[in-house]
C-alpha cells in the first residue's frame, strides 16, 4: 500500500464543521489513528473524543486532512506545510486555482505532498482510511487486494473498486487525486509510488478529458517503461465538442487542442496502457492481467 497505512497518524483541519466531524467519525470507525483536530478558536474542545487544537503548530501528525471551507483552504494548507506536515489531503472542493498553485509551490519548497483539492481521500483497505472515501454505504465497494487505483473522480473511486470487489479482486490503495485545474498530486506522481509498492500488481487509472495528466503518464511510460500492467478508462469522450466548458469537474475542460480524449487515448495506447472504452470493461481487463 502507498501513502497511508495502519501507522499513519492523522489530524483533521476543520474538525468541528459538519464535514470534518463526519470524516472524524468515519475515519475512527475504520480504525484510522485520528489523533488531533484543528479549528482556530476551538482549541480545548473534543470531537468524537479527538482533542481539538487552535493551530497546526500544536499537533504532530503524519497526515492532515483539510475540510475547511474553500476560502480558508489556502491558510489551512500554508499552516500545515509550515508546521512540517508531509502529507496534506484536501477534500474541500471549489478552491481558487491561484490558492492551490501557491500552496503547491510552498509544499515543493518544504518537501510536503499535497493530494487534492477536491480529493475524496485515500484508502488502503483494511489498514487506513483518509478522508471521505469509503464512508457510509460505499464501504461495500472496497476490499483488500492487489490493484492500485488512481482516480480524478471521487465517486468513481468507489464505482471502480466496486466492480473489482464484486469480481473478488481487492485493492491495495485507492487514491482520489481530484480533478481541479491544478492538483497537488498528479496521476504520474501516484503511479510512480505504486511501482515500488509490493502489494500492488496492477494499476487502474480513471482519467478524464482536460489537462495533461494522462498524456504525461503515457510519455513517462514510453520513456522510462513501467514494470506493472496499467489499465485506463478515460471519461468525457462525448464532450469533445464542448470547448472551454467544465463538465462536472473544474479541470475537465478542453482548451484549444489541449485535453482532448482522442489524444489521451492514443498516447496511452502507444505506451502500452490497456485502455477500455466502457467503465465496466475495467474488471474483465484487470482479471486478464492478474
Amino acid at each position: 500500500m502507498i501513502l497511508v497505512d495502519e501507522n499513519t497518524r492523522y489530524c483533521i483541519q476543520g474538525i468541528t464543521g459538519k464535514q470534518g466531524s463526519r470524516a472524524c467519525e468515519t475515519m475512527l470507525a475504520a480504525g484510522s489513528n485520528v489523533v488531533a483536530g484543528v479549528t482556530p478558536g476551538k482549541g480545548g474542545q473534543e470531537v468524537h473524543g479527538v482533542p481539538v487544537y487552535n493551530t497546526m503548530e500544536d499537533v504532530d501528525v503524519d497526515c492532515t486532512v483539510v475540510y475547511v471551507p474553500p476560502r480558508f483552504v489556502k491558510a489551512a494548507m500554508v499552516e500545515a506545510i509550515e508546521a512540517g506536515v508531509k502529507l496534506i489531503v484536501v477534500v474541500t472542493e471549489n478552491v481558487p486555482v491561484h490558492d492551490t498553485a501557491y500552496c503547491y509551490a510552498l509544499a515543493q519548497k518544504y518537501g510536503a505532498r499535497i493530494i487534492g483539492p477536491s480529493s475524496v481521500g485515500v484508502y488502503s483497505a483494511g489498514a487506513s482510511k483518509c478522508g471521505s472515501i469509503a464512508s457510509g454505504k460505499s464501504q461495500i465497494s472496497f476490499s483488500k487486494g492487489p490493484v492500485g487505483i488512481i482516480s480524478r473522480s471521487g465517486g468513481m473511486c468507489s464505482e471502480t473498486a466496486l466492480g473489482l470487489t464484486q469480481a473478488g479482486i481487492g485493492q491495495s490503495t485507492v487514491v482520489g487525486i481530484g480533478s481541479d485545474i491544478i492538483t497537488g498530486s498528479t496521476m504520474l506522481d501516484i503511479l510512480k509510488l505504486f511501482e515500488s509498492d509490493d502489494d500492488t500488481t496492477v494499476v487502474v487509472l480513471y482519467g478524464e478529458i482536460g489537462g495533461d495528466m494522462e498524456e504525461n503518464v503515457a510519455r513517462y511510460i514510453i520513456e522510462h517503461g513501467y514494470s506493472k500492467p496499467v489499465v485506463a478508462f478515460i471519461a468525457g469522450k462525448f464532450a469533445s465538442r464542448f470547448e472551454d466548458i467544465s463538465l462536472g469537474h473544474a479541470g475537465a475542460i478542453i482548451e484549444g487542442d489541449n485535453g482532448r480524449w482522442e489524444t489521451k487515448v492514443k498516447l496511452l495506447k502507444e505506451a502500452g496502457v490497456h485502455v477500455v472504452h466502457l467503465h465496466h470493461g475495467i474488471v474483465a481487463k484487470v482479471k486478464e492481467l492478474l
Binding site: 491561484h98 498553485a101 464512508s135 473522480s153 465517486g155 485545474i181 472551454d244 462536472g248
Partner: protein
C-alpha cells in the same frame, strides 16, 4: 468563465493601456475605426468579424450583416468599435496555468496572430513564491514592465487565463480573459450567465436557481440542454461523464447534462426533475449514480416520484441507485410503478453503472 473582448479589456485598467471598445449603439463612431463582433470564439479576424470601416455606410453594412447572421453558430449580441491604430511592433502575451508544472506560465511571442503554437516563443515558468519582476530577464527590455503588470492583473483578478494579442507600442488592442469561477466570492462584480457559445436557455436558468438559496447538496448547478432525447438525472461529476460516454457508445444521445449530489433535500430534486421532465420529445429517462456515501436514496428519489406521478411519462425510466435507505427507495418505486403503470426498472449496485445503459438500449 471565458469573457469576451469588451468584458476582458476593462480588467486591464490600472495595469496597462488598452484601446477601449465602445458598444456601437452607445455613441457616434469616429472614422476610420475598427468594428468587431463580440463573441467568445477565437478567429474573429479570419471570419470577417473584425473590419476597418471608413464611413457610416460601411459601418451600417457591418452592423446589419452581423445582426442577420450568427458567427459560427454564436449569436452576435454586441458589436463594438474602437479607434484605428497603426500596427507596428506587434506582440502576443499570454498567461495561463501550466498544468504539468502546476505554475503560471507566461508566453511572449512576436509572431502574434493566428499561429501562436508554432511561433518562436519565450516561455517563463513563474515561481509564484518570488516577485515576478525578478523573473522577466529573458524578455526584450521594453516588454518587461508590461509583462509584469499583466501578471499582476492575472493574479489580482483571479484569472485562469489572460491573453493580449496584439500588444502594439505597449497598448493592448485585443484581450481575452478567463475568470476562475471558484474565486467569484473575491470579485465585486457579477458576471452574466452563459452556456457554451449561446445564451442560457430557460431550463438552464431555472436549473441554476435551484441551488441559489439552498446550499444543502447540489442540484442542477451544471445543467445544460443538449440535442439528444435521453433525459438525464445523474449524480456526481465523474459518474455523469462516464454515463454520457456509455450512452454515446450505445448510440444514444443525452437531452441534457446535469447532476445532483451531496444529499440535497427532496424539494431540490423535485425542482430538477420538473425541469428534466419538461424537455420535449424524450425517449427515456436515466437516473443513476454510484453507491452513495450519505445521500438518502429514498428521500431524494421522493422528489422524482412526485413529478413522475404528475407527468406519468410513457417512455422507459431506468434507475440505478444504491446507498442509505435504498431498500425503502426500491419499495417506493415498485409502488409507484403499480399505481401509475409506469415503465420503470430499478437497479442496485449489483448491476454496474454503465451496464444499465446497455439495458436501457435494449428497451428502446
Amino acid at each position: 468563465m471565458k469573457l469576451k473582448e469588451y468584458e476582458s479589456k476593462p480588467l486591464l485598467e490600472g495595469y496597462i493601456p488598452f484601446n477601449p471598445c465602445t458598444i456601437v449603439h452607445d455613441t457616434k463612431l469616429v472614422y476610420p475605426c475598427v468594428m468587431k463582433v463580440q463573441v467568445q470564439q477565437n478567429g474573429r479576424g479570419k471570419h470577417g468579424g473584425v473590419q476597418v470601416v471608413q464611413n457610416e455606410e460601411q459601418a451600417h453594412s457591418f452592423t446589419s450583416k452581423w445582426q442577420e447572421n450568427n458567427f459560427n453558430g454564436e449569436t452576435v449580441d454586441v458589436i463594438t468599435w474602437e479607434p484605428l491604430v497603426d500596427i507596428v511592433d506587434e506582440w502576443y502575451i499570454g498567461i495561463i496555468f501550466n498544468r504539468s508544472v502546476r505554475s503560471p506560465q507566461i508566453i511572449v511571442s512576436q509572431d502574434g496572430g493566428s499561429a501562436i503554437e508554432s511561433a518562436d516563443n519565450t516561455i517563463i515558468i513563474v515561481n509564484i513564491l518570488e516577485p515576478i519582476e525578478r523573473q522577466v530577464n529573458s524578455l526584450p527590455e521594453h516588454l518587461r514592465d508590461t509583462v509584469c503588470k499583466l501578471y499582476h492583473c492575472f493574479v489580482d483578478h483571479d484569472l485562469r487565463m489572460l491573453e493580449v494579442n496584439p500588444l502594439v507600442n505597449g497598448v493592448a488592442l485585443d484581450c481575452v480573459a478567463v475568470t476562475d469561477d471558484d474565486a467569484n466570492y473575491r470579485r465585486s462584480t457579477t458576471l452574466s450567465e452563459r452556456t457554451l457559445n449561446r445564451k442560457a436557455t430557460t431550463r438552464e436558468i431555472s436549473a441554476r436557481k435551484i441551488d441559489e438559496n439552498d446550499h444543502r447538496g447540489v442540484a442542477g448547478k451544471t445543467y445544460m440542454d443538449l440535442d439528444g432525447d435521453i433525459g438525464i438525472m445523474t449524480s456526481g461529476g465523474g459518474a455523469t461523464m462516464t454515463l454520457m460516454d456509455a450512452l454515446e457508445h450505445y448510440g444514444l444521445h443525452p437531452a441534457n447534462y446535469t447532476e445532483y449530489s451531496g444529499n440535497p433535500p427532496q424539494e431540490k430534486v423535485e425542482a430538477l426533475a420538473r425541469i428534466v421532465l419538461s424537455i420535449p420529445n424524450l425517449k427515456a429517462l436515466l437516473v443513476a449514480g454510484v453507491v452513495a456515501n450519505f445521500t438518502d436514496i429514498h428521500a431524494t428519489l421522493q422528489g422524482l416520484i412526485t413529478v413522475l406521478k404528475e407527468v406519468k411519462p410513457s417512455y422507459p425510466i431506468i434507475i440505478r441507485r444504491a446507498g442509505p435507505n435504498d431498500g425503502l427507495a426500491k419499495k417506493a418505486i415498485e409502488k409507484l410503478k403499480q399505481e401509475c403503470g409506469l415503465n420503470i426498472t430499478y437497479y442496485d449496485e449489483t448491476t454496474s453503472l454503465t451496464q444499465v445503459v446497455e439495458h436501457l438500449k435494449e428497451q428502446l
